[in-house]
């Protein structure tokens, strides 16, 4: 927090102010408008549905990440948690889809618990603690799966990946539910206050008697759990568990979504809905790039431009 920021942060609500809050919304609007004008077959229900289905894993991971970031931490191991959960599914699918999913989710939570303990009890910097699991977790997944992709033909799992409820894909319902739950928790629950207090001023939170360590562990467990859920979803949709590639580099997408959505990495503040929008924005950019058939190099450069533009507009709010 800088002095200049002190002056910039609070202005009387005006158009500019609204725009600052919603840089990500503006960016989404612009990119939608562009696609409506220039991308053939964009304005179809099927296409909308596709984008939502594709964004589901990232969105779920990003919500967990947002909570971690709110405590002033970061979780680089989410991709590996996805891989571990994917690797476990084929091993336990023999006991039925639900037990297998339960095992996968548990494993994600366990990885989160390791992260959380390293951060909360051993006092390790989050980026290093989770970097360790980023490497080791992926290795573990590959060991479990013997490095191979395994196809899965379980109907329950397939349903999870592709079926709909009342016309809305289950994966979409899932990430909407996760987002809503997280938003409610942050806004109304005591846990949400604790998370923000710890991220805002950890010594102060400790002195106020908050259960700092327990809260930190819980948050990392949640992040691991959500990542595992995303791993299950990805696997279900693909019809195959692919521990070497599932969730690769998703930590960067998730963190981008969080930051683009208006949450500063310094902790103490969080925007759950903004995070969801950030994920959606990144998805729309990817979709545009592919549907416009841009070459790989151009695509990356355009992505870079849009990210900066979206964050620049709302920079008064999201600097670290």
């Amino acid at each position: 927090m800088t002095a200049a920021q002190l002056s910039a942060a609070r202005r009387p609500p005006d158009v500019l102010g609204l725009l600052q809050v919603g840089g990500v919304y503006l960016a989404i609007a612009v990119i939608l408008a562009f696609n409506l004008a220039f991308t053939p077959n964009f304005a179809t229900v099927a296409n909308l549905r596709l984008q939502l289905v594709q964004v589901a894993p990232v969105a779920i991971v990003a919500v967990g990440m947002a909570l971690v970031v709110a405590t002033g931490g970061i979780d680089l191991s989410v991709g590996s948690a996805m891989a571990v959960s994917a690797a476990l599914l084929p091993l336990y699918i023999g006991y039925g889809a639900w037990p297998a999913i339960a095992v996968a989710l548990l494993a994600g939570a366990a990885l989160g618990a390791v992260n959380g303990s390293l951060v909360a009890f051993a006092g390790m910097q989050p980026i290093i603690a989770t970097l360790g699991l980023l490497v080791a977790g992926r290795g573990l997944a590959l060991v479990l799966a013997d490095g191979r992709l395994t196809e899965l033909f379980d109907p329950t799992l397939a349903g999870l990946g592709n079926a709909s409820l009342l016309g809305v894909p289950i994966s979409v319902l899932l990430f909407l539910a996760v987002t809503a739950a997280a938003a409610a928790a942050v806004r109304y629950a005591a846990a949400g206050r604790r998370i923000l207090a710890i991220g805002g001023n950890r010594p102060a939170a400790t002195l106020a008697g908050l259960p700092v360590r327990r809260t930190l562990v819980t948050v990392y467990v949640l992040s691991g759990l959500l990542a595992a859920a995303a791993g299950v979803l990805s696997t279900a949709r693909q019809g195959a568990a692919d521990p070497s590639f599932v969730g690769l580099l998703i930590e960067l997408s998730a963190i981008t979504a969080v930051v683009v959505g208006g949450t500063p990495l310094s902790g103490g503040r969080v925007r759950i809905l903004g995070t969801l929008m950030g994920a959606l924005l990144m998805q729309l950019i990817t979709a545009t790039v592919i549907q416009q058939n841009l070459p790989d190099s151009t695509a990356r450069m355009i992505q870079a431009g849009i990210i900066i533009a979206a964050v620049y507009v709302q920079r008064g709010r999201s600097r670290t």
Binding site: R193, A197, A204, L207, G209, P211, G268, R269
Partner: protein, 509 residues
């Protein structure tokens, strides 16, 4: 005096923050060789005025003139380069650098290759601090030292440059009488060197001791400017508070009751043999219900260290803490709070407020478990609690949803007090509770302490304002170098005896 050209002049400045008109057409002029006091209640706009002058904030209207020309500094750097040296409110230094590093940051002595001459830097730093009676190792990390030393470093830093204008925003809020004397001595030197000094303080004594002129701000407006000599102390307070002189006279400004209670109730808090090498040496204390225990001592004498140990916020090598007859096994603040202790820390910025959270959330933070139904915070109960304390402590906010970082320093302090009070503790530890708090609020807080003690609460009070300890405490424990060197009871509690015990421990009764 006003006929002489002003070094610095502020004309009709205005500044608006969300929901608050922090400054509304304030003018002020500073002349060479003049020490100008700036006073007012918490949130009156003093710090904002300073920040407008040095370019931290941009004014909404009005102008700043410096040495005859209109200026608009883009930041503290420019102001400093132009010869305006400022000590901002709250210690604004870099805690992980050394003391010497902080003193010289940005103007380190260099050798002929343009490289920093560390040896010279350390030597000069030692010399400079020595002049202020500070004998710390200049290579130690600033953050490891007490707040008082840090404040002195900030002062020394600001005065180490050749400035035409020196602005000090509550420089003495965490200083001991000894350091205050030193500082006022330096101010005198500045005056003789024809430097213009703007001096913000809540300690009216200092206004009358050191300043020629005084400007009073109230709710962002200029309430009074005039020569100190022609100003009556009560009238000054009345102007600040916006109340009638008579009302103020009738109620007085210090609100501690005069008589000292004798410990009647049972000991609610008993700490024994607290030891933490090398800072705490076998400190024992007990607090009875309805008693105010004062801790006195010089900077770094270990008062903060003691109460932190009691509260479980600092590790100890040995010692026990018993609250309400139960010896605490876990050594962390959460357990301490559960056992009935509460503590308001001395460093509100680093250890107190959660800047990004609202006033509301900051107040109820520690009380959350009691406001929670099935994991969700009960909106109704929270609102009631917050309203009660905002009113009781007269916290000046635009709404309970306002972020704490937007509050003035004094109001932040009240928020912290409210946070601990709403826990209904058995023992309340207050480490510098009135630091940076205006006279009105100070009186309120003192009355509150009295009131709470009257209701059977045990209070541990630390204050660098010796008068406050003397008047407020029923019993005073004097610390030196991390050990108890004396206890004073009843009538023996006077500023003089306390000072004597500090100076010559052996004379303690």
């Amino acid at each position: 005096m006003t006929t002489q050209t002003a070094t610095l002049e502020v004309r009709e400045v205005r500044k608006h923050f969300a929901g608050v008109q922090a400054l509304d057409g304030v003018s002020l002029s500073l002349h060479p060789g003049e020490v100008h006091a700036l006073v007012g209640e918490n949130g009156a706009g003093k710090s904002t005025l300073i920040k407008l002058i040095t370019g931290v904030h941009r004014p909404d209207g009005g102008t700043v003139h410096y040495r005859g020309a209109a200026v608009a500094f883009t930041g503290p750097r420019e102001a400093q380069a132009a010869g305006i040296s400022t000590i901002y409110q709250e210690v604004n230094l870099v805690p992980q650098r050394s003391v010497a590093g902080n003193l010289f940051l940005g103007r380190e002595p260099v050798n002929r290759f343009g490289l920093i001459d560390r040896r010279r830097m350390h030597r000069e730093a030692g010399d400079i601090l020595g002049r202020y009676g500070i004998t710390v190792d200049v290579r130690s990390r600033l953050g490891e030292l007490g707040l008082g030393v840090q404040q002195m470093v900030a002062v020394a830093r600001a005065l180490a440059t050749d400035a035409r204008v020196v602005i000090m925003d509550e420089p003495t809020s965490s200083l001991e009488p000894r350091e205050v004397d030193l500082l006022l001595g330096v101010v005198d030197v500045l005056r003789r060197r024809q430097v213009a000094v703007l001096y913000v303080t809540h300690k009216l004594d200092e206004v009358f001791r050191a300043c020629e002129r005084v400007t009073v701000l109230r709710d962002g407006r200029l309430a009074h400017t005039g020569d100190v000599a022609a100003t009556d102390r009560l009238a000054l307070v009345a102007t600040m508070l916006g109340r009638d002189v008579d009302v103020v006279r009738r109620h007085g400004v210090t609100t501690f009751t005069d008589e000292h209670r004798t410990a009647a109730g049972p000991a609610v808090l008993r700490a024994e043999g607290l030891t933490r090498a090398p800072r705490l040496r076998d400190v024992s204390l007990d607090v009875h219900a309805g008693e105010v225990l004062g801790l006195a001592g010089l900077l770094g004498s270990g008062r903060t260290e003691t109460v932190k140990a009691v509260f479980g916020a600092a590790p100890v090598d040995a010692g026990t803490v018993t609250v309400g007859g139960v010896t605490r096994r876990r050594w962390d603040p959460a357990a301490a709070i559960r056992s009935g202790l509460a503590m308001v820390p001395e460093d509100r910025k680093a250890e107190g407020v959660i800047p990004e959270l609202s006033v509301r959330d900051n107040i109820v933070l520690a009380a959350l478990p009691r406001l929670t139904v099935a994991g969700f915070v009960s909106e109704r109960r929270r609102a009631r609690l917050v309203d009660t304390f905002v009113e009781r402590l007269r916290i000046k906010i635009s709404s309970p949803a306002q972020k704490v970082r937007e509050l003035s320093g004094g109001n932040q302090q009240k928020v912290l007090l409210a946070r601990m009070l709403c826990l209904h503790p058995k023992v309340l530890i207050l480490d510098e509770p009135t630091r940076g708090i205006d006279v009105g609020a100070k009186a309120e807080i003192q009355a509150l302490i009295d009131d709470l003690a009257g209701q059977g609460l045990g209070v541990v009070l630390i204050s660098s304002d010796l008068e406050e300890v003397v008047e407020g405490a029923d019993r005073v424990l004097v610390l030196r170098d991390g050990a108890v060197v004396g206890t004073l009871h009843g009538d023996r509690i006077t500023e003089e005896t306390v000072m004597r015990v500090i100076a010559h421990a052996e004379e303690a009764p």
